[in-house]
Symmetry: C2
Subunit: 257 residues, 2 copies
């Protein structure tokens, strides 16, 4: 966070005051001397971000595939040593088939998973969702100070296991998933909570982890709903207290308490 | 918009009902048979999106540089005929220097503009900002129905000249700017209103148009504030009624009425 001297206006009054603003950095991930991506992100939990990004993009299947990771905080870069050969193919595909997009990474590669269902008996009651959302809102330290970040969390249905923040909603999810990977999280018995809207990209990330449920206080897109129904992922939007809209996979939401 | 049959939960009650959800498409922009980018966006005002995207990314300096544009609504693609040679260099740069990011397009190219100031005598009163924000909120048709879109508008300080919506906050800005380009908008006497947070990418887009002011009900990032101060762009965050925080360029905000 960075403090600026700003002018606060309230009707006719002007006041010179200090204001705390969320930090944003351009952070470049370098795989074996090749730039993979530059993410605009918050400058903390960067190891989690890289690990989660590589995982939810389909470049690694687990944390152990990363042999070494070195973060350079002067140049905001991360050097990743990851000797698997398939990576080359994926990067190639990215650059030449899907082009460069605002969150559109590896789209064509991910297309393949469209029909693959998440197998999970995970279940939760609406009262527990309300409790988790309440806990989730309170934890966002940077957001409460700056109003400038998104957050994401993984929960086992009872507690929040991991909570992460970032100026980007995708980054916050990657950070939470990246941290959970290190904890050997049993993804198929978790739900993901996100402060942002549920788009197709969020669904792809959730699918990569085999996470059976995603909950947001915000709205889903039609693509996200369609993908969720195909992949048997529970999607809950507009979750506010014990009110919520279940767009997909209602079987996992049973009863109030 | 697409209608889904969903389950609405309120405490102990469950109701099967219809819900309207914002549409999302993968939309590929093709320059002379080469894929430039795939944007995840809302399926309307696509001509505005392409024009604005090319402009705010620095690939064109005006609408006239696009010789022809053909939208294929079956494949969600746009074929652009644009014979300028410099384009090749820029695309090359994008792929090999900045890599592929979530909104990180052409970052290195844009770096060059860091010190270039926006020259404009544009001024506005706080009462006018409050009125414009009020008008802005009411216009978001898709948002009011789905809760799933961002919006952006250009104003001359009195009226909203262009208003556009999209599931992506950058896309909404590109659509507004793209439409304004067609209307020969005098950008240096306008302000941009966005429903989203003000990040460095938003500042770069605003700078490309030579727009002297950006206003949001949400927060800026530290990079956006720093860039705005260097480029002499007025940044107003948390604009709610006649309350607002002026992070940069206060000289353009004078008096209440």
């Amino acid at each position: 966070m960075e403090t600026f001297t700003i002018t606060k206006i309230k009707g006719n009054d002007r006041e010179i005051t200090e204001d705390v603003v969320a930090q944003e950095i351009p952070f470049t991930v370098i795989l074996r001397n090749k730039e993979l991506v530059t993410l605009l992100c918050s400058p903390f939990d960067l190891e989690d971000l890289v690990r989660g990004f590589l995982f939810t993009s389909g470049l690694i299947k687990g944390a152990a595939e990363i042999k070494n990771m070195m973060i350079d905080r002067e140049r905001w870069s991360c050097y990743v040593d990851m000797p698997k050969v398939e990576t080359e193919k994926l990067i190639f595909k990215r650059l030449y088939t899907s082009g460069c997009g605002r969150g559109t990474l590896f789209y064509s590669v991910l297309d393949i998973m469209y029909k693959s269902k998440v197998i999970s008996d995970f279940k939760i009651k609406t009262g527990s969702i309300a409790d988790l959302m309440n806990d989730f809102q309170k934890r966002s330290e940077v957001y409460l100070k700056t109003g400038g970040t998104h957050s994401a969390a993984l929960s086992d249905g009872k507690d929040i296991l991991v909570f992460r923040e970032d100026i980007g909603r995708h980054n916050a999810i990657d950070k939470a998933v990246g941290r959970a990977l290190m904890n050997n999280c049993d993804f198929k018995n978790t739900l993901l909570i996100t402060s942002g809207r549920i788009s197709s990209e969020v669904l792809f990330k959730v699918r990569k982890g085999g996470i059976p449920m995603v909950v947001s206080k915000s709205a889903p897109t039609n693509q996200a709903v369609k993908l969720a129904r195909e992949m048997d992922i529970t999607v809950i939007g507009f979750a506010r207290g014990t009110r919520m809209n279940v767009y997909s996979g209602e079987k996992r939401v049973n009863g109030k308490e």
